[in-house]
């Protein structure tokens, strides 16, 4: 399933890597439910959120600067940061 990472820049603790925001990738696998780190970080009662592994090509992440455009990078991202493409 193709997804795009939200291009949101709120203040506060966020685990979604900055360099992947706004980038498009493909869900490689579902990992499971975990307590939301965005709430954990402030010791708030945290909700369970679905975490997935997303695969991005270097071309997508780094554009023309990619040295090996067909290589991939995978990152684990919570689904509330993802939108279907």
């Amino acid at each position: 399933m193709k997804v795009r990472v939200n291009s949101h820049w709120p203040p506060g603790h966020i685990r979604t890597p900055a360099y992947l925001r706004g980038k498009q990738g493909e869900i490689e696998r579902e990992i499971g439910l975990f307590n939301n780190p965005e709430q954990n970080a402030y010791r708030l009662a945290s909700e369970q959120r679905a975490l997935v592994r997303v695969r991005f090509t270097m071309a997508e992440v780094w554009g023309d600067a990619a040295e090996t455009p067909d290589d991939v990078i995978e990152a684990e991202i919570y689904t509330h940061w993802l939108e279907p493409v």
């Binding site: 603790h13 685990r15 360099y19 780190p37 965005e38 954990n40 970080a41 402030y42 010791r43």
Partner: protein
């Protein structure tokens, strides 16, 4: 950090000092007691900013974050921490050398 040039990376293994092991143990104990968690540790580390990343060692940043977390959660006050830090300082600079 953040794609900045960092020079050559050292792959040498090194022993941890006793105080570093204690910082690690403190983090585990405070987490087990429900006073903090991995994300609250990381949140404070990130809030410390780029300068702290350059100026402080790994476990120096950890103990600063654990301390900040304990103050936030009310495990001790800043005044209590200051008093304890002064007491420890009086032990001298070689106190932590024991392994």
């Amino acid at each position: 950090m953040g794609g900045d040039p960092a020079g050559k990376i050292s792959y040498d293994q090194h022993d941890f000092a006793l105080w570093e092991k204690r910082v690690d143990a403190l983090m585990v104990l405070a987490s087990s007691a429900g006073l903090m968690n991995t994300d609250s540790l990381r949140r404070v580390l990130e809030d410390m900013g780029e300068e702290a990343y350059e100026a402080m060692s790994y476990y120096e940043r950890w103990i600063a974050s654990v301390g900040q977390n304990m103050i936030e959660v009310g495990a001790f006050s800043t005044a209590e921490l200051a008093k304890k830090m002064a007491q420890v300082k009086e032990r001298g600079s070689t106190y932590g050398d024991a392994t």
